[in-house]
Symmetry: C2
Subunit: 344 residues, 2 copies
DNA sequence: TTGTACGCGTTATCAA
DNA sequence: TTGATAACGCGTACAA
């Protein structure tokens, strides 16, 4: 910085004013400084800037160590941050020491704020960050969201829309399959709970039959689900799935049993990566998860908060987009026989 | 830090010695300091440390902005870094301004070094980082790797093994499908090139028929590939795929045409996420990509380099593990009819 | 509009 | 084994 100042015949502070655009500088001086910066290839030192300004221009993405698929919203959040002059740092946390992770994140000054992934209905990180006065935005929602910034998928609206779409096609008996995360590190993870609740409410309001299955992760859940339908809800004509892995096992099992999708059974999957649904045979009608928007918006929300440009809580609910195809959805078959477990 | 020193009745330097373990400190003093740290909840300020020590303890993960699926090796790299006292910062780069990104990365002092993803055979970032004297490790390989640290999948060995496995089962005519990245931002991306080369070499050495298809991304490539086989290599009895999306389209198309996998056609996919292969019907035999190991090892390599504990270039080639199932592989059918394009 | 000088919270050098 | 103190590179209050 001193070299730049020397070369431009100004003081070091004038360089700072230009670099940060913090005070008016005459056009000529500015030009000389910019030229010197360019010629010397000067970049301001991030640590010194952080130390002096008390802002790191870094935001942390906190997620459980066990989560292996960060997917698109991470890259979207990183891209949005970069566009706004921030960097995204990965902050994996063990389930049990989230406490100390939060503290060190805040007190070390590494990051100005945090984005929280995999939010549970009751999430201890929220109270900790709040106590520490650390700005944060949830990618998801806790049960009580009073005064908390969050950006989340609108599972309620999406579920209601999916039920509505099926009801209009004459389906009377619906089933829902969600991931069961009891006993996993994600116990209390909210999407399944919210979706189930909306599903139950909306089917009840419409007087439709409703069967709900909570199944563990993995494609085997799909076959298990098919069996459960045979056993407990053989009259089901349409399925809504929040269980990505199960979709494959389900369509494959159905095919083997001669159940035609969508003629005999309609399937809709919600908040899933669109490309995943397209890989099934037949392709599964998908309310695609707004991953890019979720990542981008949450980063933008946090940065807005950091820059103090927001007063009110930022609470964004993003419904999934509407399906781009109806490949696995059809009118309810009037007189379809109950589902059976026999392979062809 | 001053408060800690006061409370422990020592000087601020002694606190530093304890915190960084840089100089011997008597057990009693150390204990007093640690207690004071604990009681005050002190954490050292990252920016100040970086400024004074000239090390940020941050490493950057550079990847093209277009890459949407960071997947498991990102989380593995982040986890390994955290374990070693480093943090991983995401560093998306536009294809065209990689130059300035590299420069700012190095000169800003934000990161001590970089991990490079999506390495091309000729990658401009390498020369730039080298010129800037910035430590880096490639997750992948350039064509010329003299003196460069890298951790990469051993596509050559894996391809050779896959060809060998099929040859031993009596297959005479093999086909390979890879992603065609000509005209995409990933043009020059190495895995496809290396795999193709090894495939051609190994089949030639064994006197086997070899057909190669380079196809664009997306599941539609699978059906296209099936058509290409019918047209150009109808006697193919086994397929090797480096094209994840195509696998689904391929098995689904084959099923519709009455081609049974693996009775009529064997399929092996290499360097793919294992869970993806399991979603096909039938499940595709997979040489799973060593994603976790790749991420972990590359972070470890970079940190070793940063800590000066390595002299020689770190060059790690990791073959894919062996398939855990042979669900889509069988003995070559002696007298199978040539493939046709007619649906059942 | 520009310059001076102090402080940010550490690490590292040197002396005790 | 410990302590005093000078950097580290920048932002900013205040002065000019």
């Amino acid at each position: 910085m001193q070299q730049v100042a020397d070369r431009a015949n100004v003081s070091i502070s004038t360089v700072s004013f230009v670099v940060n655009d913090t005070k008016p500088v005459s056009p000529e001086t500015r030009a000389r400084i910019l030229q010197a910066i360019d010629e010397l290839g000067y970049r301001r030192n991030a640590a010194a800037r952080t130390l002096a300004s008390r802002h790191s221009h870094v935001i942390a993405l906190m997620y459980p160590l066990s989560e292996h698929h960060l997917s698109e919203f991470v890259t979207a959040a990183a891209a949005a941050s970069a566009r706004l002059g921030y960097r995204l740092i990965l902050w994996p946390t063990h389930g049990d020491d989230a406490a100390s992770e939060v503290t060190s994140l805040v007190k070390s000054g590494i990051a100005d704020g945090a984005l929280l992934m995999e939010v549970k209905l009751e999430d201890e990180r929220v109270a900790m960050l709040r106590d520490a006065d650390a700005p944060f935005v949830l990618m998801g929602r806790t049960r009580d969201t009073t005064g908390i910034d969050f950006v989340d998928v609108d599972f309620e609206t999406t579920t209601t829309q999916a039920v509505g779409q099926l009801a209009r096609l004459g389906h009377q008996d619906l089933a829902l399959v969600v991931e069961d995360n009891t006993d996993t590190p994600l116990a209390g993870y909210a999407p399944a709970a919210r979706t189930e609740q909306s599903f139950v409410a909306e089917t009840a309001a419409r007087g439709l039959g409703a069967y709900v299955a909570r199944l563990p992760r993995g494609p085997a859940a799909g076959s298990a689900f098919a069996d459960l339908l045979v056993q407990h809800a053989p009259d089901t004509t349409a399925v809504i799935s929040l269980h990505n892995d199960a979709n494959f096992g389900l369509v494959n099992t159905l095919r083997r049993r001669g159940v035609q999708v969508p003629r005999d059974l309609s399937i809709i999957t919600i908040s899933a990566p669109e490309r995943l649904g397209a890989l099934c045979d037949p392709p599964i009608t998908t309310y695609p998860q707004p991953a890019e928007e979720l990542g981008r918006r949450s980063a933008e929300a946090l940065i807005a908060r950091l820059q103090g440009s927001e007063e009110e809580p930022i609470q964004l609910l993003i419904p999934c987009e509407h399906p781009s195809s109806t490949s696995s959805v059809a009118t309810a078959a009037r007189d379809r026989a109950p589902l059976t477990g026999a392979d062809l």
